[in-house]
């Protein structure tokens, strides 16, 4: 049969029909289905063995327990730990996204770098570790050779008492410089206030979990205050109690923050008037005889003077005028606070990391003293520092001895700032007001002053003047972009480091991070780098650092915990660590070796809450009592010479009131009033946006609302009434101008804002990092002029006079 036209057609039709009886078309369909599901650009995470590694979060001083889920060598998820006392299971959004901060190549310095572009550009060239260390060491060595060691300055953002901060201070001193400068923090305010009123500078904490009445003076408990993991859990505990009618939280804040919204009572006091309000409450408590008379008569001094002042000058009528809070509300707070079993008045605005006003804090602390709730359940807890071993003293040579004795550039501890330990803003001032920067080499550790300090413009000007800056930051932050040399630290997931008593914790806890993954990039633990640098400077400097590596330093210090006796290294979670105990617990380890091994795997050593009794001499003031009338301050005013002949000592300290009130907690009044700048700018912090040194993980930007950040614009919150005065509508661009600077933002109208106040979130406006973080919004620090808090000399963050206009 030949191939005729007819046959061909038949064959074709038959073929097509027959084909459909075979599985071929269906198989092909399926293959196409599978093929359409494999795109080469969709990442396929490799499978592997699942592991879980316990550690501690090191992103903030809150020190939450974390466990990291791993697939082979890759860390894939961070979760909260239930076997860690701080945070039963939960962690904060930043901690949750920590892996992005570990792996994102554009967020991190991937190795030691030398700057090649202009300062601020972020153009670096990778060099070897040997070269990097040699460069720093030579720089320090040359300062030592020329006896100019004071020109070496370290800026340290690590929490106080951590081993790393000791090492940094040690390196600075051993090289011969007194200029070890810490970033300003709330700890400074606490420390100064407590030293003045109680003579005690041990860590202070609020026993929130056991409290039944929390009077919060602007503390953003839900904005990331203290250790967010712990505080949020404490919040749940308080809520649980509240549902049974047992706990009240009163939030005093001018903005309807999360804390204000979620608390039982929101009291909107004008920004900057907290001291007046606290003293107004004190007035009612004293007037109505609601204070703890036994405590006041047995353990305090200067009460009569305080009483006279408070009754004379802080009548509710006056307070209503100052704060805008109603008389009934003041009375209700006084009653609530004084009649509660375990009340506590807490201080520290926003996240509780930026310093506050010293007199404000002391006014709040006075309330606690009136109620006598010091080292009592639910009150404030003053305890001894962790019993860590001290490191052997350094052995400075002649050069260093000379250098250490030169005056600090920041004038901290001088007659002008007698109680301050370090004042970085003064350092910035000094640099900007000299022709040539007195600072030759600046070492920056775990800090980002170019972004986080007020008046950022001035800070950057100062940084530009410094001849040589070395950054140890693992992150590509603004300050490291100003650096000439970067010696990147590991991230907290790659190194062993201690977290010495997480922020604000009432019981003693030592946390230890561990390398969860092998270093992802060519970085080195800053502790090791410090030792390496010291060894490379010269033998004399090296002799102060006789250790093999940083971990051995940690181990030496931890030995102190063992020597103190007791303590636990395992936490079961059955009984919360904040439950008050009468008897000491532990130990649950055999030897120091055993203890250290267990700490290294589980990351903790702790003691359950058992503070020293009130009568065990915790007040170490001249009177051995809690001082309402601060003798040490009186001494500093009356006995110290004035800076300028014939000057007013009080004025020099920044105190404006006269008479006895100057030596007691008092309200300084509003001196910022300026016709040209009729509004107040109050920065605010958010738990889901990092505003400190470590950046927010990109994940956190999912949680930011689009009336907080939209595209590259951040929003300033304004009351609709105020906005209508300026004809500003939701989403309009506005210019906010202060003495320091003018910035552009968009307006977000909210009834949660106090009329006349402009609220701007801290943490936006980065100019470094990568596309997730860079150029998003504006940094309110630019607006904040370098004010000085009376007496402490620290920056004033929380009220800035501004004006706004449509932009």
């Amino acid at each position: 049969m030949g191939v005729t036209r007819r046959n061909f057609v038949k064959f074709a039709i038959g073929g097509v029909a027959g084909l459909h009886l075979t599985p071929l078309p269906y198989k092909l369909m399926d293959d196409i289905a599978i093929w359409t599901q494999n795109w080469p650009w969709v990442p396929v995470p490799p499978e592997g063995e699942f592991l879980s590694v316990k550690s501690v979060c090191g992103l903030c001083p809150g020190g939450c327990g974390i466990q990291v889920r791993k697939v082979d060598e890759r860390a894939v998820k961070i979760e909260g730990r239930t076997d860690y006392p701080v945070n039963p299971g939960g962690i904060c959004p930043s901690g949750m996204g920590g892996l992005q901060l570990l792996y994102d190549r554009d967020l991190r310095h991937t190795g030691p770098m030398k700057r090649v572009g202009p300062r601020g550009s972020g153009d670096f060239m990778e060099i070897t570790w040997d070269e990097a260390i040699k460069t720093v060491a030579e720089r320090i060595a040359s300062l030592r050779k020329n006896a100019k060691t004071e020109a070496l300055v370290s800026v340290d953002g690590n929490s106080k008492g951590s081993t790393l901060s000791l090492m940094i201070e040690r390196l600075t001193k051993a090289a011969g410089s007194p200029n070890y400068v810490r970033m300003p923090s709330l700890e400074d305010t606490y420390e100064m206030g407590n030293l003045l009123m109680m003579g005690n500078n041990g860590p202070m904490a609020y026993d929130l979990e056991n409290s039944d009445y929390v009077l919060s003076f602007g503390s953003g408990l839900l904005e990331g205050w203290g250790g967010p993991g712990r505080i949020m859990n404490a919040w749940a505990v308080l809520r649980e109690k509240a549902s049974k009618g047992g706990a009240t939280v009163v939030q005093i804040e001018s903005r309807a923050s999360n804390t204000a919204s979620k608390s039982d009572k929101w009291i909107a006091a004008r920004p900057g008037t907290d001291a007046a309000l606290a003293l107004g409450i004190a007035h009612v408590i004293i007037r109505d005889n609601l204070y703890d008379q036994q405590f006041v008569s047995n353990y305090t001094s200067g009460f009569e003077k305080f009483k006279t002042m408070v009754l004379g000058q802080y009548s509710p009528e006056k307070i209503v005028d100052i704060t805008g809070v109603g008389k009934e509300a003041i009375k209700a707070m006084a009653d609530g606070f004084a009649r509660a079993k375990a009340p506590v008045a807490i201080y520290g605005k926003g996240k509780g990391t930026l310093n506050g006003s010293l007199f404000e804090f002391m006014s709040v602390q006075a309330l606690n003293a009136l109620k006598g709730n010091i080292n009592k359940p639910g009150g404030i807890i003053i305890s001894d520092p962790l019993p860590l071993a001290t490191l052997p003293a350094i052995s400075p040579d002649g050069v260093a001895e000379r250098g250490i004795l030169t005056p600090r550039f920041d004038q901290a501890g001088t007659n002008k700032y007698p109680f301050a330990v370090s004042l970085i803003n003064n350092l910035i001032d000094v640099i900007n007001h000299s022709d040539k920067s007195p600072v030759d080499t600046l070492l920056v550790f775990s800090a980002n002053p170019a972004f986080t300090l007020p008046d950022s413009g001035e800070v950057n000007r100062a940084l530009k003047k410094i001849p040589f800056i070395v950054s140890f930051s693992p992150f590509r932050d603004e300050t490291s972009f100003m650096a000439d040399l970067v010696l990147p630290d590991h991230s907290y997931l790659e190194k062993t480091d201690d977290i010495v008593r997480p922020n604000g914790l009432q019981y003693q806890l030592y946390g230890l991070t561990r390398p969860v993954v092998k270093p992802v990039y060519n970085t080195r633990s800053a502790g090791d780098t410090i030792i390496n640098i010291a060894k490379a400077v010269d033998t004399k400097t090296a002799s102060s650092f006789p250790w093999k590596d940083y971990e051995s330093v940690l181990k030496i210090r931890a030995k102190g915990l063992f020597d103190s006796g007791g303590g636990l290294v395992r936490y079961k979670g059955a009984e919360p660590a904040w439950k008050w105990k009468t008897a000491s617990d532990g130990p649950d380890y055999k030897s120091f070796g055993d203890m250290w091994k267990k700490i290294k795997t589980d990351g903790l050593w702790y003691r359950k809450l058992m503070p020293s009794a009130i009568d065990s001499g915790i007040f170490k003031t001249a009177s051995n009592r809690f001082e309402f009338f601060i003798s040490q301050l009186e001494l500093a005013v009356k006995d110290y010479p004035t800076a300028a002949p014939g000057g007013n000592r009080l004025k020099e300290l920044g105190i404006t009131v006269e008479g006895d009130a100057a030596f007691m907690p008092h309200y300084e009044g509003n001196h910022h009033h300026d016709e040209q700048l009729p509004l107040t700018m109050a920065p605010y912090e958010m738990v889901n946006l990092a505003s400190g040194w470590a950046p927010s993980p990109p994940f956190a930007y999912k949680t930011i609302f689009d009336d907080q950040l939209l595209g590259s614009d951040s929003f300033a919150i304004i009351n609709p009434g105020t906005a209508s005065e300026f004809r500003i509508k939701q989403g309009d661009y506005i210019i906010i101008q202060s003495k320091a600077c003018a910035v552009k933002a968009r307006a977000s109208l909210s009834h949660g804002a106090m009329p006349g106040v402009v609220y701007m979130p801290l943490g936006f406006g980065h100019t470094a990092y990568d596309e997730f973080i860079r150029e998003k919004g504006v940094n309110p620090n630019l607006l904040i002029p370098p004010g000085k808090d009376p007496l402490s000399g620290h920056p004033v963050w929380w009220t800035t006079p501004v004006k706004i206009m449509k932009g």
Partner: protein, 264 residues
């Protein structure tokens, strides 16, 4: 209706205590990290960014200083019905390619990414806006290194498909595998919880089997403060909320008539 309780052995659900919720967003981050949701350079484009767990913000509408804020964390509601008695949620009954189904045995509404053609009908049908479309390819630029934290338990999605909260279904699988390895047939109450419930620092989220009276969720939903969002639509969501504040319960639904407060 009477069949409703016989349908499945398990009915996993969630209770979110809005009095405890602080709006911190940890649930959102935990969810994104657990489920390989990528972050785009501009996450402020809320209409196109992906967040299976989304925290909504609402206020009581009053003026300063009476203004109050509440946060509604909103995962997929895993509805049981479409609102007119159909025994599949709105999104499931409309899906053209059977890419999403309601597992009658667990109550979980699944999403098969490799099956989805991206018609977005489910998105239009969902009143909770719980469904998200991948307008872009997942953002894991080459050399950025971010793909290293991806979990192999959840398959990353390609552009052009819908994704949504799965009640961390892979965690159920994990728990089942573990129970099986231990020779148990049942998983314990806290063995299977979602990443958001686990992460919540304020312990506002409780997760468990609504069918099991011993589970905390089953007890919590009996509270007089318990409610669901848009209850009137009758979609029978398995995510419940608790709030002692009347105005919060009131704005969770669209009441035509007067809202009657329950707490004095």
């Amino acid at each position: 209706m009477k069949k409703e309780h016989d349908q499945g052995k398990y009915k996993y659900g969630m209770v979110i205590d809005l009095d405890k919720c602080t709006g911190c967003g940890t649930c959102m981050v935990a969810c994104a990290a657990e489920n390989n949701v990528s972050v785009r350079p501009d996450e402020s484009d809320k209409q196109r960014s992906i967040s299976w767990m989304q925290v909504y913000k609402a206020d009581n509408g009053k003026e300063f200083p009476e203004a109050e804020t509440v946060y509604f964390p909103r995962p997929c509601m895993h509805c049981e019905q479409d609102g007119r008695g159909g025994h599949a949620p709105s999104c499931v009954s409309v899906c053209v390619a059977t890419a999403t189904t309601l597992d009658k045995n667990t109550g979980i509404v699944s999403q098969i990414y490799t099956r989805c053609i991206g018609c977005r009908y489910c998105q239009a049908a969902c009143p909770y806006k719980a469904r998200y479309f991948n307008w872009w390819d997942a953002y894991f630029p080459v050399d950025k290194g971010l793909e290293r934290y991806l979990s192999p338990e959840v398959s990353p999605r390609m552009r052009g498909v819908i994704e949504k909260c799965s009640f961390c279904h892979h965690r159920l699988m994990r728990a089942r595998t573990k129970a099986y390895a231990d020779g148990r047939r049942k998983i314990k109450e806290n063995e299977y919880i979602t990443a958001c419930a686990e992460a919540c620092p304020a312990q506002a989220i409780t997760f468990g089997d609504l069918n099991n009276p011993k589970h905390k969720v089953a007890q919590l939903i009996k509270s007089k403060n318990a409610f669901r969002i848009l209850e009137r639509l009758n979609t029978k969501p398995k995510v419940y909320y608790l709030s002692s504040r009347d105005w919060v319960r009131k704005i969770a639904d669209n009441p035509v008539d007067e809202f009657s407060p329950i707490s004095g």
